[in-house]
């Protein structure tokens, strides 16, 4: 990620008021059509009258262009096309080659709106290998849209979580129920974090604490080193389990990598 993105995340007023701006800070699954139709208000985009910044997208790669500082993708998902930029770390070129034209990718990123265009600033890309994910993504987008515009459905037999997705406001937690249900395959317990696994909770707690300490000292936060997490947690959980836990949280969008693959920050 570029220093521009990093400083935006840290210094924007919204990230200092995470509790009050939780909706904006949540990770919303969207279609490209929704982005293109979104209303723009003071450089932020509104979908279903909610601010949207961090998004999750699954789309086909129409083209890939690489230059020294970033890779630019044109993505299409049938509802439109959009540009997405991924800023390079120093030695990322080998990693980039995984993304091929005319394959599907999952993108986590920040939505950007300028006067002339809308594009996605990518945190992470991942090739889609099971195409049921595509079906799931569209249904999840629809489910989130409906729960925002019409309220959520009454819970099915399974105990639906009344707690929020990572301790956020009720509105955003409702939007993410299907997401949480899907990724854990078990109902989320009504606890402080909305995470079942003590390891996942512990990792998130440490990463958040790391960022808070850094911010408190006025130092820049480049993300917490994964090795640091392993060191602190391996006595309880074992080295490989901790690494797997971190990877799971990254894959599910609860953490994202920053300056390289070894530093992570929490998705709030």
């Amino acid at each position: 990620m570029s220093s521009e993105c990093t400083s935006n995340l840290l210094n924007s007023p919204s990230s200092r008021q995470i509790t009050s701006r939780s909706v904006k800070q949540s990770l919303r699954p969207v279609t490209i059509g929704q982005i293109m139709k979104a209303e723009e208000y003071d450089k932020t985009l509104l979908i279903d009258e909610e601010e949207v910044s961090q998004i999750k997208l699954i789309a086909n790669v129409c083209s890939v262009g690489v230059n020294a500082s970033c890779t630019t993708y044109i993505l299409g998902d049938g509802t439109g096309t959009i540009k997405a930029k991924e800023w390079h770390a120093d030695d990322e070129s080998a990693f980039k080659e995984r993304i091929m034209v005319n394959t599907y990718v999952q993108i986590f990123g920040n939505l950007k709106a300028t006067e002339t265009e809308r594009y996605v600033s990518i945190f992470q890309t991942r090739p889609v290998t099971d195409y049921n994910e595509l079906t799931h993504h569209y249904l999840e987008v629809l489910s989130v849209h409906l729960s925002i515009t019409r309220g959520s459905l009454p819970p099915p037999q399974q105990a639906l979580p009344s707690s929020s997705f990572s301790g956020q406001s009720e509105t955003s937690s409702l939007s993410y129920l299907p997401y949480g249900m899907y990724s854990n395959n078990v109902p989320i317990l009504n606890n402080d974090e909305g995470f079942v696994s003590p390891l996942h909770k512990e990792i998130r707690r440490l990463v958040r604490q790391w960022a808070n300490t850094r911010n408190g000292l006025g130092e820049s936060d480049d993300g917490m080193e994964i090795n640091e997490l392993v060191l602190r947690l391996q006595s309880t959980y074992g080295r490989d389990t901790v690494r797997d836990g971190v990877q799971w949280l990254i894959n599910e969008g609860h953490l994202y990598t920053t300056m390289d693959e070894e530093h992570v920050r929490i998705t709030e």
Partner: protein
């Protein structure tokens, strides 16, 4: 511009004649015509594949060139008046894919234009 390519099943093809669409199907038959060298000039539309769409209807797809397919394939192409499709690109979806669930997406595509626009923006 063809930026918007609605996801369709067999039943929706008649609504999108002349338009570019996306169709996921299970490959049933592949007809690859092998022609002798002197005949190759007429090979233009000789390669077709028949797929079962997610609503069980069968669709004939004319290929640009012979290709290797997995069980499930997504085709992007233009709908002809005879409801066949002229392929532009395809993506292999592998050998496990839930077509019935995908049909739900196709149905919802027609009902929620805010999420799944089917007409190009002005």
């Amino acid at each position: 511009m063809d930026v918007i390519t609605p996801r369709v099943n067999y039943g929706l093809l008649s609504r999108y004649k002349g338009r570019k669409v996306r169709l996921v199907g299970r490959v049933i038959q592949v007809h690859i015509l092998t022609l002798k060298a002197e005949e190759s000039t007429i090979a233009e539309t000789s390669h077709t594949v028949v797929v079962e769409a997610c609503d069980k209807g069968q669709v004939s797809v004319r290929l640009r060139q012979p290709s290797n397919f997995t069980t499930y394939v997504e085709f992007v192409g233009r709908v002809n008046t005879d409801l066949s499709i002229n392929e532009f690109v395809f993506t292999n979806f592998g050998d496990t894919f839930d077509l019935d669930l995908h049909n739900k997406v196709v149905e919802y595509w027609q009902r929620f234009p805010d999420i799944f626009p089917t007409e190009e923006l002005p």
